[in-house]
Symmetry: C2
Subunit: 475 residues, 2 copies
């Protein structure tokens, strides 16, 4: 017995109550040429779903402000949270085609290969995290389409509509590019012909029901084993490096000049619209805060932000782990300093068992891809790992406890982390081993001497920025 559309609609509603309960986020994409019926079809679906957790996300042409951010920025920002459903009325695919058609940042994207890779990586990342992506491409007979178009154009109240969302892309270009995409990965797309409305609705609901049932089944099988996978008595000499120790006098004479140079570079980066992303990780009490303070001390505060990472809020926990960082990435020409970062996934989350083994193992590659999305557009990413001798950490902990105005800096958590010293060492070692890429390199900075570490970091930032700005090593 075949079910009618009303029954299927009730079934979809019931299944989405289930996915809501299980916390499965759903992303439903509608692509299609104008007047193909994708408004009517997506509206049909929208009315079926519970407004409490359904969001309709229409694709809009990039504004000037959008162009100051990473290509996928707005799709990162609007990621659904666990159990929520986003309906994309045209999606990152149409957005990509618009970049192409209007030759936006053409030289950067190397004929847009980079964008196609980004889309692939983005989808894979969220799918691996349990997001269900359902993609529809809506077609229609030429005759019907012409009827729709005529209707729209004749009604003065709807004639603006094509303009608002679709004028920027030429229909033929859109059609051609979408068909390349469909051809390259036919299994990912459900093509629906809207010529017969009831039939189209039927197909849409059936496909969604299949996919939701599948997502629910996979969810139940989800890997729950927690295991930090540590070696007994792990040893590495990665952190046994040394740097030139600067004297108090040298420090005093150097630091101001270096900061002045950094400020000049801030302006130069601003002018060239190059974003700079500085990531700090390191052992507790290694002096990250003080180091960051010296980097920012003379910078123009209107052009940078410090993002000091605390435990995630419940809203953040309900999203993909990269979401909270993605939405704070800098716009063109700005500097973002992360005091701890997305590397928490492979450090504290691995050590404390907040992420499953599968999750943190996968994270190295995800993070490399994530960083690449920004460096693709010319962003500079520099990552610092501040290391400390275990005895020196103990000395600093004790000093903090004994100095009244520093007591707030030391907590029970610091002592607990110290007990897991070896595990943090191994996790840090693996992190650097797997994420020390050409596009976003790590610098291991011995920080037993705070002043030397500051000089080392600032010199490195200056050197790297100068290389990018003028292509020569000036320092």
């Amino acid at each position: 017995m075949t079910k009618n559309n009303e029954q299927l609609s009730l079934e979809v509603a019931a299944l989405t109550r289930k996915t809501k309960e299980l916390g499965i986020p759903i992303m439903i994409v509608f692509e299609g040429v104008p007047a193909s019926g994708k408004t009517r079809l997506s509206n049909e679906l929208l009315l079926t779903l519970d407004a409490k957790y359904t969001h309709f996300v229409p694709m809009k042409s990039p504004s000037e402000d959008d162009l100051r951010y990473q290509f996928l920025q707005k799709y990162w920002n609007s990621l659904p949270s666990k159990g929520d459903i986003n309906i994309y009325f045209r999606s990152w695919y149409a957005y990509y085609i618009e970049y192409q058609a209007n030759k936006i940042k053409h030289s950067i994207y190397n004929k847009y290969h980079a964008l196609r890779r980004q889309i692939k990586d983005f989808e894979a990342m969220v799918q691996d995290d349990g997001y269900e992506i359902i993609k529809f491409y809506i077609e229609i007979s030429d005759k019907k389409r012409k009827e729709h178009l005529k209707e729209m154009k004749e009604n003065p109240l709807t004639s603006w509509k094509a303009q608002e969302y679709e004028s920027a892309i030429n229909d033929d270009v859109y059609h051609k590019e979408m068909h390349k995409i469909l051809k390259a990965s036919p299994d990912e797309w459900e093509i629906i012909d809207y010529t017969e409305r009831e039939e189209a609705i039927n197909l849409m609901y059936k496909h969604i029901i299949d996919r939701l049932n599948n997502a629910i089944r996979l969810h139940k099988k989800k890997d729950k084993v927690i295991d930090g996978d540590f070696t007994e008595e792990f040893k590495t000499d990665l952190f046994d490096q040394s740097i030139d120790k600067v004297s108090k006098k040298t420090y005093k004479s150097l630091i101001g000049d270096l900061q002045d140079r950094l400020k000049e570079l801030q302006f130069a980066l601003y002018e060239r619209k190059i974003p700079l992303i500085l990531v700090y990780e390191g052992m507790d009490a290694a002096g990250k805060g003080g180091n960051i303070k010296r980097v920012r001390e003379k910078l123009d505060p209107t052009g940078y932000e410090v993002n000091a990472i605390s435990a995630p809020t419940d809203v953040e926990l309900n999203h993909h782990y990269l979401w909270r960082f993605a939405k704070d990435m800098p716009r063109s020409g700005h500097i973002e300093i992360f005091d701890r970062s997305w590397y928490g996934r492979v450090l504290v989350e691995r050590v404390e068992g907040f992420a499953t083994k599968k999750e943190w193992k996968r994270a190295y590659e995800e993070i490399n891809q994530f960083e690449k999305m920004w460096t693709d557009e010319g962003a500079i990413i520099l990552k610092f790992f501040l290391t400390l001798d275990k005895d020196e950490q103990l000395r600093r902990f004790k000093e903090r406890e004994e100095t009244p105005e520093k007591q707030w800096k030391i907590t029970d958590e610091d002592w607990r982390n110290r007990e897991k010293w070896d595990q943090y060492i191994e996790a840090s070692h693996d992190m650097i081993k797997f994420t020390n890429t050409d596009h976003a390199p790590w610098l291991v900075v011995p920080a037993d001497n705070k002043k030397s570490a500051r000089i080392e970091v600032i010199k490195y930032i200056i050197k790297k920025c100068e290389e990018v700005l003028w292509g020569v090593k000036q320092y």
Copy 2:
């Protein structure tokens, strides 16, 4: 013994750790003409504060996108959460002056009286909620200022700077308008002369220390008494209204045409850039969801959003109660439908004791002011209260329990709310009494007959939109 600036800086740092702990949000405003030293001064403060909970918010000239939103929209969006600190590098004051100087939406704002009132209301609302606002106006001797300017202009790396944040406002206009503001409320502002840097820093820290100490003292005295203030056996005939009951046949012949008309009006509002805000409140099982579904059924989904309000997240609880609604208000020409709304403050929060008596009593006026901010700019706000006979509610509850596909709609909470029927009636009565304004009226809709209620609401929306669009009652 006078303390030096280093000591004062440590004191400010310690006090802000205290305000963080207590959850007091702080907003620090820096206004001043260009090259007055407000960058240097605000930077000094920024370096003193903990980056974990401090945000630097530079004023930017309104972009085209900004102009599609309410004047204070971005200040609502960026409100600090409890315990956090925002430093405004130029604030809503400079933003206001820029609206003036560039004659933005001049005709709407009635010579900008409306904006000044909005600023006053906005500050009062957040202050009443425990936000501490500290406002600095930075001055400098002409001689020093000219030196600063010369420095900035001579350095090719900084000459763009004045442009980015300040070019849109003429210095003289800014100076003149700010002095009117300072004169009108001298007690609210701390004027600091930056001619002598160390002295200026000293004054800034001392003022902040005074204000933070004061805020901490007031916080401790905070009203904690919870009392819904209900009358024994409250009676009102406000909800004993009747509407024409439509037959099934009439409903069927009417509803489609009304929906078509609504869709046309959606496009007309879009063209005229008028936002429409629909607010639904009412008793449980009164049929809000079904009513909303009929309103939206034929609307273009790219032009409206439904915001179905659930219990607040922890992030929302950490902000002013209006924040979560303010940030979802529609941009020009769009429709936002709230399924439950900010009126929760005077309904569920009053009945359940989630808000103190002081808080919910104050909320009527706050909500009127809040809604006025949007209607000031031409938004249409229509509010519907769906009422139900107590016996009819019981019948619907039981029907939901007995119908498998409706069971998810009925929860223990519904039964608990029903026990407080009289209290909800009194709270609803007071709500309508105190917030039924000309700019945002309530319509009480008897919903014992769902179909009649739907026709009633849609007709009312059509009538009100037509009045605004064409100034005549056409229906």
